[in-house]
Assembly symmetry: C2
Homo-oligomer: 398 residues x 2
């Protein structure tokens, strides 16, 4: 039976950026790594095979979406999410908490961009109690309770390699008193998650052939460093395989970098460290320097479906293919790119696909953006290995 392990192979000279290997029963992840979002058990416009061809190491699915559609039982009956969606590499599932809360509050990345607002009208969140989060299903309107125990039970059935405790993702707008109360409740939920995890370890659909699952704790505390300290201490003293940094990271990039640096600096080398929901290229370079090992974000595939291709040479780091200036542009999405899209298609053709509402366009840009992110992560890893991180970083943002 394959086992889990976490090994730091090298730390950047005069820095905190680190090169690691996270081994799972479904294969190794070379870190720093990007985790692509297969929210509903699918990478939207592309297949897992296509993602693998473009160097994807690990994907993430969402407990919240899958518990509602198709329901965890359907997935478990297939032998787990790997088999259900035909992805045989490493996989992570979140706990469902983030979606329940973010559907009410808006997303973390929106908050950092200053556009996060609490929207009571569109919120599906009904109540947060000691027991868990009660919400209204967007499928049939029924009222559901997601408790820490139930989140782990569902994640056992989904069968991802890496799973998360249920937490409340607090917002920047929350007062310190609420952030503190919420954090303490999230810690109590974490202990319940750990208990359920420990007692249900043989529950994984194909335990035995593919090994067990490993649990990540989540550090809360918002923008308050004393609370972050408290949450770091809680997470380090409990038996988590990995540690994720969650909750609000502030309302500006500077605040985000500050909080992540403050937090990651205290976590040392025993755990792989995941930063939840952050994935802009520059943020990744900056936060790898803080010691983050894995990142996830819907950005690369979401913007692809809106016509935006990631590029390293243009000032904004992306081009929108719908812009009429690309109508006759016979360059690839990114000049010099070796992805399956750029080797075969021009900007002009992909512009045509978007103008004509042809969905192949979504596939082609998604593939490019996935390749781009994976190439960037590979460059990050090589530059840590070669101790030329800063030079290589500069070459990506010239």
């Amino acid at each position: 039976m394959k086992k889990f392990s976490w090994k730091i192979k090298k730390v950047l000279l005069n820095g905190r950026a680190r090169l690691g290997t996270l081994t799972t029963p479904h294969g190794k992840i070379e870190t720093p790594a990007f985790i692509f979002c297969a929210t509903k058990g699918v990478l939207k416009a592309i297949s897992p095979d296509q993602a693998k061809t473009n160097n994807t190491q690990i994907i993430l699915s969402n407990t919240y979406h899958l518990m509602l559609q198709p329901g965890e039982k359907v997935v478990a009956d297939h032998g787990g999410l790997h088999k259900f969606m035909n992805w045989d590499g490493p996989m992570l599932t979140d706990s469902g908490g983030f979606q329940i809360f973010s559907l009410g509050y808006g997303s973390v990345s929106n908050e950092i961009k200053g556009i996060r607002t609490i929207n009571k009208k569109t919120s599906s969140l009904v109540k947060i109690s000691e027991e868990g989060a009660t919400f209204k299903s967007y499928i049939d309107g029924s009222i559901k309770l997601l408790s820490p125990e139930r989140s782990i039970m569902i994640q056992r059935k989904l069968g991802a390699d890496l799973i998360l405790v249920l937490d409340e993702c607090t917002t920047f707008h929350a007062k310190k008193s609420y952030t503190s109360e919420s954090m303490k409740r999230s810690h109590r939920w974490s202990l319940k998650s750990l208990d359920e995890y420990s007692s249900s370890k043989y529950y994984r659909p194909y335990f035995g052939s593919a090994g067990e699952q490993k649990l990540y704790g989540i550090i809360q505390g918002g923008i308050y460093k004393d609370l972050r300290d408290e949450s770091i201490e809680f997470n380090l003293k409990n038996d988590f395989f990995g540690i994720a940094i969650g909750g609000t990271l502030g309302s500006t990039k500077e605040q985000m970098y500050d909080i992540v640096n403050f937090t990651a600096n205290k976590l040392e080398n025993n755990h792989p460290i995941h930063l939840l929901g952050i994935g802009e290229p520059l943020d990744i370079w900056n936060l790898v320097e803080a010691g983050i090992d894995t990142f996830d974000c819907v950005m690369p595939t979401r913007i692809a479906r809106h016509g935006s291709a990631l590029t390293r040479n243009l000032s904004k780091g992306k081009i929108n293919i719908k812009n009429s200036k690309y109508k006759i542009d016979q360059n690839p999405l990114e000049i010099g790119c070796n992805c399956s899209t750029c080797r075969k298609y021009t900007r002009s053709y992909i512009h045509h696909l978007f103008k004509a509402n042809e969905i192949l366009g979504l596939q082609l840009i998604s593939l490019h953006n996935i390749f781009f992110m994976n190439l960037m992560m590979e460059d990050i890893r090589q530059s840590i290995k070669n101790d030329n991180f800063k030079e290589v970083k500069k070459s990506w943002f010239n």
Copy 2:
């Protein structure tokens, strides 16, 4: 420079079904063959590479759509449609006439199903004159004239291997007098098309590297056998490489089979014979027996996008994956199928994709349906070779 040729290798014992090879500068087509519709220079949910992996020999694009978006100049500037869309195999373009008329009348297949009606309100057809068809662009509302000469000029720029003359596609509802008048005008348009074709043979974007283009005439005459005779005579006496059977084929399957048999029977062996717009599996088996070499239809990919997968063993020849009975069905779309979808995904998973509005579902069923059609055509060819056509046909509709 590669050349065109058409060779009949074998005719079914005691039948008219025939095995042929149609050679083009972009490769050979083993016939009987199915031509998949890449209407706007794209096979909708899938890439040309994916179509090729699933055994596609030849695709078709539409002059009407491409002249409006992105415009033939953009395509020509890429060196033609093959390079624009990254398809290096054989390709056919229609003349644009069918779309202009069918947008007014409804499609041929609708007519055969008895649901074709003339819809003056949604028609984009403004006027038919000796000069050509005047219509309103659905892109910008501007008035465009498609003349026989202009259709050929555009098809020269698109650069497909096989191109068609401009014709008016008459409907079942047209009186004999109109059908006759229209046919005679289509013949005059054919002569103009031939003239333009002959004088513009060096116009193809990448003539020289990929060879020339070949022109198909189109037999009109609707359901009137004396008119069909007249159109057959016209087409045979002019210098067309291939011959297509167009116009209305009646309002019932029996009438369609009767007209196609009547027409194909008189065309002998000198030309590859294409039947425009027909592609239901049973129709293909029946009309291969009439001597048809190639077929085209949007059906396999269009129904895929609505959740219908082609199957040989069920009474109706297809299943709709959105049906709730597939929610927990772990069989592949078709049991025993070896396509890239059926080897990897269950009905339950694809049902989930459609329930969750995930566009990968469109890709997965499109790939299955394309594989299915190509496998069926291969079985048809083998059964002509082995003189067991009727037995093999029966095995597809048991």
